[in-house]
């Protein structure tokens, strides 16, 4: 189905040369944001409307900010988004449930495991299964490490945008160690597709606990270094304190959740109010601050990293054994894979079973791989606490092997609504601080 009229032929029939000279083809890309006339009128005579982005060194990705300025002071900020819209939600309707994991993990690309976790928790609710204890523990450990990694990227890019370029190097250096852990378990540094409906894609390696503990020994010292670098730094203080104030009621009126809301004093955390992955067994605090400005958001995120390490420490102390995938043949095949002599990971006992012993098992495995499992009809909303706020999936199923509709409630999308009210009356350089402290990830905003 064509949504545009058929376009003119490419070749001139008389001469068979291209109908439009090659130099002019940049003018024919008519699909652009030609919205300048529709933007609100200037408020006064001194008002200047300026466009920041979408390609800009200091906006967090492809975000376009239209600022109405009076001199240097911002009267209104209009975020224009959609420059990274990928159609992930629609694309998932044409793939199986397990393949959807690979799509959704690329939305919020700084915290991919959280995307996968919320999606798989929703499917498990529809399937009415629960992932085994070991899988829940590994999921919790990896998502908390992902929270630390995401906050490190926030520190790194936020520091770089504010001019503290050393933070960029330090933040990404620490993140490398966490990514090493992810790579050793899931095979990928980013966008893992490791958390699958029913459990995990494969069991963790034998040295998983040692690797995690090594990281837990290494990270706190580094975090002390950041605090020494930043906490008393006069430039950091001046640029963050008092900038971008949003109090609790205004934040909730805008739908803001996550560290921004917690920095306004409201201790709302989905790990406490609607716990998942057995997190209620572990002892941790929800850091809040009363400042409600960018400095408060900075301290809240630093403290969240510490609390994540506390949770990981407790999970490691009590690390369960057992399978990592639910024991239902309709949903997943066994994942007790071992590295074979040919260097390929396989489960020799399972292969013996499906190839030699049981025809039904072979057919079942074939169907699982090609068609995927089916999920009962229904609708759920499943939410987790991602590093940016409440990440929710509204999953609708009609009883087949493909999702009927998956909608994602992404925290960055909602938090960006508050950028306007947070930057009224500030200067342009403070707008950078405000957007950086909101920590939007444009992949999640635009999906």
């Amino acid at each position: 189905m064509s949504i545009h009229e058929p376009t003119t032929p490419t070749t001139d029939p008389a001469t068979d040369a291209p109908a439009v000279p090659a130099e002019d083809w940049s003018d024919d890309l008519f699909v652009e944001g030609a919205d300048w006339e529709s933007l609100p009128d200037a408020i006064g005579e001194d008002t200047l409307t300026i466009n920041m982005g979408p390609q800009h060194p200091s906006t967090h990705g492809v975000l376009r900010l239209v600022l109405d300025l009076q001199g240097e002071e911002v009267l209104r900020l209009t975020p224009v988004i959609g420059y990274l819209h990928t159609g992930i939600e629609k694309n998932a309707e044409f793939r199986t449930w397990t393949q959807g994991t690979t799509f959704f993990t690329r939305m919020d690309y700084l915290a991919p495991l959280h995307n996968e976790l919320a999606y798989c928790l929703g499917i498990e609710r529809l399937l009415d299964v629960e992932a085994p204890e070991r899988a829940q523990a590994v999921r919790l450990i990896l998502t908390e490490f992902n929270r630390i990694a995401s906050h490190l990227v926030w520190l790194a890019t936020g520091g770089m945008e504010l001019g503290a370029v050393s933070m960029m190097i330090y933040g990404f250096r620490e993140r490398e160690h966490i990514l090493d852990l992810f790579e050793s378990q899931s095979g990928l540094r980013m966008n893992h597709a490791y958390i699958r409906p029913g459990g995990l894609a494969a069991d963790v390696t034998d040295d998983f606990v040692e690797r995690c503990e090594a990281l837990l020994r290494y990270l706190p010292g580094r975090m002390r270094e950041y605090e020494q670098l930043l906490m008393k730094n006069p430039i950091w203080n001046d640029r963050l304190r008092g900038v971008g104030i949003i109090d609790r009621d205004t934040a909730l009126a805008h739908g803001v959740t996550g560290p921004v809301l917690r920095a306004a004093g409201e201790p709302f955390d989905l790990r406490k109010s609607a716990p998942y992955c057995n997190v209620e067994q572990y002892d941790f605090d929800v850091p809040t601050d009363v400042g409600a400005d960018s400095w408060a958001r900075f301290t809240v995120r630093l403290e969240e990293m510490r609390q994540s390490m506390r949770i990981i420490r407790q999970v490691l102390d009590d690390f369960p054994t057992g399978p990592v995938m639910v024991d239902d043949k309709q949903i997943a095949w066994p994942s007790q894979q071992a590295l074979g002599a040919d260097g390929i990971g396989n489960d020799p006992a399972y292969i013996q079973h499906i190839m030699g012993e049981s025809m039904e098992a072979l057919i079942n495995h074939f169907k699982l791989v090609t068609q995927g499992f089916t999920v009962p009809a229904g609708q759920v909303y499943s939410a987790v606490e991602s590093p940016r706020g409440e990440l929710g999936y509204r999953i609708t199923s009609t009883g087949t092997n493909k999702p009927y509709r998956v909608h994602v409630r992404e925290p960055s999308f909602v938090n960006l609504q508050a950028a306007d009210v947070m930057s009224r009356g500030l200067t342009v350089s403070d707008v950078i601080v405000v957007v950086a402290s909101l920590d939007p990830v444009m992949g999640g905003v635009d999906r």
Binding site: H85, L252, G255, T257, T374, G392, R409
Partner: protein
Amino acid sequence: MATTEQLTAYLAGAFDELVTDVAFGELTVHVPAERLLEVLAWAKDDDLVDAELLSDVSGVHWPAGEHVVERQTSTTGWPDYRTSREQGVIEVLYVLRSIRAGHHLSLAVQTPDDDPRVPSSTAVYPQAAMFHEREVHDMFGVDFTGHPDQRRILMPDDWVGHPHRKDYPLGGVDIPYKNDKTIPPPNERDLREVVR
């Protein structure tokens, strides 16, 4: 924190003519479009429900016709899924969350898909609903009456069509880039809808 049963009973007491539906631990209230603002305002002000946060506004398109998934009972034990609609609907779903109490509930509004019109919840949640309703408008074509700034948010401003509707193709739409007139149609992988 109110449990789902308590909330259901409380809602039935307040609005006994509305259909409430508890499935998979989710409480969903089906609200006709003209009563949406009333229910939202009540949920926001009420002490028990205390829906301070509008978490999410999303849409699902159920086109007209029959949608049958058969043979489920024999293979999975689930009942056959069978719906048939003469009038396609777009279902707009709201998630309301209480911060103090920690519970959440969903509202579902159905509107015909050839002229979808829903009162805008910016009347009750002036800021939280802005981007969400713009997205549902962009993706499904729902007209939220009373929304102060209803324009496309994710697609380019001059885009034609509403991508998340079921009658919109996944890809293969013409974009006139000069040097390549045809974008190949998507590889939909021939994943037929199957039931085990």
